[in-house]
């Protein structure tokens, strides 16, 4: 890592973002392991670092590392897309440190203060206690300020330089992404109203704006890694935006089946959820088609070499198309209809879907961006996989898939025992948890979690060392 080939300040800043994202990714997996151990050995760290604390850090680190990597990705691609250096890079650097410091403080408070008395000071300074949006209000406001700074940079750069389709989509998407966060900042005594707005943030992030974001990143990746035609890729990006927002925005209905909201959400949720997998299928075709087309054109010219300029990154991009389809598509689809969701809502099924969808749709492509950064930082023309990158890819993907299958089996036991037979009472819940399949599911989840974690360590080692490998074309 001695030589830094990056000349763009924006790209240098992007590598900072990627670095902190990778650290948080590690924290996410570590606290996930603590929570997984607690399922198997309930006494583990009891009243020291309880499940609720471990899980809070697990899911918050997840969201924040992805936000960091997403911001990094934007800083990374802006100079390439607009043709100019990012405007306001000084502000970007300042806000990076503000953001990092805020996150460290929030996590320390989660770990060492944990809970507070039932008054507004807790909400302001310790925790808001709403899954995924636990961050206390001061941090909420901080996040909004930091993201506004980021959006200023994006808009100023987009308006000054060349505004490609990718940049235009990102500009619109990031504004929506930030704006939606405001819906989750209020406090209300009414749990139904609370969860109504809470889903605005969670759903409209992960099933609308984040999906569009990865669409844009995938477009960038296809242009830069396999030389796909910009015109085609960008047209395709607009179609994806139409399909994703067209199905995703109202797909929020599938979260409004049981929280006190009116029954018409059943129909809305069922209709748009049924359509939600279609863009995922379409994104999958797109990657496959463009790859085939480019490789075909190459071979027609008599060159047998691969068109891919970054093997590990491209592998993760392809896994994204596949993982998104599998995690968000297949695992989402089979419990999305109200008739079935009535039994699966709030079981390990949701958790299985969450694991594979977050990983498949987002973690994969962001890891791909890490590799692109490593490639350029080391001035490599064609980057090839190392043994480590292959091991890391297989272990992480296999590990997450294994966890998902284990959780799915556990969820199936819960549906049959706790829900269908015993009507979701506490007795039913405990009976379900005691089931042999459930217990084994949790054992396997832990084992697969360990596999994922080892894969992560290999990934980090690879990211740090692949640049100095000698088999790349420079």
């Amino acid at each position: 890592m001695a030589n830094n080939y990056l000349t763009s300040e924006s790209k240098k800043l992007a590598t900072w973002y990627f670095t902190f994202a990778a650290i948080l990714f590690g924290a996410q997996l570590l606290f996930g392991l603590v929570a997984a151990i607690q399922y198997v050995m309930p006494g583990f760290l009891f009243e020291i670092l309880d499940f609720s604390v471990a899980r809070t850090v697990h899911i918050n680190a997840l969201v924040i590392w992805m936000v960091f990597a997403m911001m990094g990705s934007v800083y990374w691609l802006l100079p390439d897309e607009t043709g100019i250096e990012t405007v306001g890079i000084g502000l970007g650097k300042l806000f990076y440190w503000v953001f990092v410091a805020a996150i460290v403080v929030v996590v320390l408070v989660y770990l060492f203060v944990q809970v507070g008395p039932a008054d507004q000071t807790t909400i302001w300074f310790i925790m808001e206690g709403r899954e995924y949006l636990e961050a206390p209000r001061w941090a909420d406001i901080g996040i909004v300020v930091v993201v506004l700074g980021f959006i200023y940079n994006l808009y100023a750069t987009g308006m000054k330089g060349k505004r490609t389709g990718i940049v235009t989509v990102l500009m619109a998407d990031m504004l929506a992404f930030a704006g939606i966060y405001l819906a989750g900042m209020g406090y209300t005594d009414n749990i139904s109203v609370d969860q109504f707005w809470w889903w605005w943030v969670i759903h409209l992030w992960v099933e609308a704006t984040w999906e569009v974001f990865v669409g844009a990143i995938a477009a960038y990746g296809l242009i830069h890694m396999i030389g796909a035609h910009r015109k085609v890729v960008e047209m395709w990006l607009w179609i994806e935006v139409a399909m994703l927002f067209g199905s995703g925005i109202l797909g929020i209905g599938h979260h409004y089946f049981w929280i006190g909201t009116p029954e018409y959400w059943w129909e809305i949720g069922a209709l748009f959820s049924a359509l939600e997998p279609l863009p995922l299928v379409a994104m999958f075709i797109h990657v496959l088609y463009d790859w085939g087309k480019q490789q075909g054109a190459q071979e027609a010219q008599g060159k047998e070499v691969s068109v891919v300029t970054n093997k590990p990154a491209f592998t993760w991009f392809v896994l994204q198309a596949f993982g998104n389809f599998l995690g968000a598509g297949v695992w989402g689809f089979f419990h999305t209809f109200p008739q079935v969701n009535l039994y699966t809502h709030g079981t390990q099924f949701t958790s299985a879907h969450g694991h594979l969808a977050f990983f498949g749709a987002y973690a994969t492509i962001l890891i791909g961006m890490f590799y692109i950064a490593v490639q350029n930082k080391n001035g490599i023309k064609v980057m090839k996989a190392t043994k480590k990158s292959i091991w890391a890819t297989c272990m992480i993907f296999g590990g997450v898939l294994g966890m998902t299958v284990a959780l799915t089996l556990a969820g199936y036991v819960q549906v049959l025992v706790s829900r269908a037979q015993m009507g979701a009472t506490w007795a039913g819940y405990f009976d379900g948890q005691a089931g042999i399949w459930f217990a084994q599911g949790m054992d396997w989840r832990l084992i697969m979690g360990v596999v994922t974690f080892i894969g992560f360590i290999i990934l980090i080692k690879d990211l740090l060392s692949i640049g100095s490998a000698t088999h790349h074309e420079r």
């Binding site: 039932a118 008054d119 409004y256 006190g260 009507g423 405990f430």
Partner: protein, 228 residues
């Protein structure tokens, strides 16, 4: 570039994407304007006048709550103060809550508000599910007020040595790790007596929210549903 098809025109797709997104967003906003008034919390006057709200007023804590199958809606609904001829809430039958059944709107609201705040301050949602959302490490709290385990015959009420459900729940919340409920115990979270009372009011109120029949077949004993 002369015979350009509209289907392969970026501008066309850009406009389509904008229109579709705009339309979906407007529809969501419109539906939000329809939904929010329907899930606003009712008040004591509604209850006195026999008006059923999806999220009823806080004074439901003065009434007996049940969860019964509605023929018309095809699923269970919360019934407050006993059922009328149509099978919906009659708001008649009262029930003591911490020794009183005449909590005023203000008093009840104060307890409920404290309970809701406590549910967030104590991070309940990262072990339990509320309305089915949250973590899956501990039981769902949506209808926990109605759960047989906490009822007069239930083992949990007996375990705390209290004679009423609300006192048993409050006692458990204050000292959860003293009571052997399950291998996965609830940790002590520093919940005060007032907060515990508020939390129980919050739980009782939550059981009266119309959740469109979630959870299904709640409280049916083992084997009652499909004879397994």
């Amino acid at each position: 570039m002369a015979q350009k098809s509209v289907w392969s025109d970026n501008r066309f797709w850009q406009r389509s994407a904008s229109w579709i997104t705009g339309f979906a967003a407007m529809l969501l906003i419109w539906l939000t304007f329809d939904t929010i008034p329907q899930i606003m919390m009712g008040n004591d006057t509604d209850i006195k006048e026999g008006v059923t709200k999806r999220v009823p007023g806080p004074t439901v804590i003065n009434y007996k709550i049940t969860y019964e199958m509605s023929k018309r809606r095809g699923h269970e609904i919360p019934v407050i103060g006993g059922a009328n001829a149509e099978g919906t809430s009659s708001f008649q039958e009262k029930e003591l809550f911490f020794g009183r059944d005449d909590w005023s709107q203000e008093e009840a609201m104060e307890m409920l508000a404290l309970g809701k705040l406590a549910s967030q301050a104590k991070n309940c949602m990262n072990c339990h599910t509320l309305l089915g959302n949250g973590a899956y490490y501990a039981p769902d709290l949506t209808k926990s007020w109605l759960d047989p385990m906490w009822g007069p015959e239930g083992p949990l009420q007996a375990m705390t040595g209290k004679s009423t459900k609300e006192e048993a729940m409050a006692e458990f919340l204050i000292n959860p790790s003293q009571y052997p409920t399950h291998a996965r115990m609830m940790p002590k979270l520093g919940i005060t007596a007032a907060e515990a009372k508020g939390l129980v009011a919050f739980l009782k109120h939550m059981s009266t929210i119309d959740t469109n029949g979630f959870p299904r077949n709640f409280g049916k004993i083992k084997g009652a549903v499909h004879g397994k």
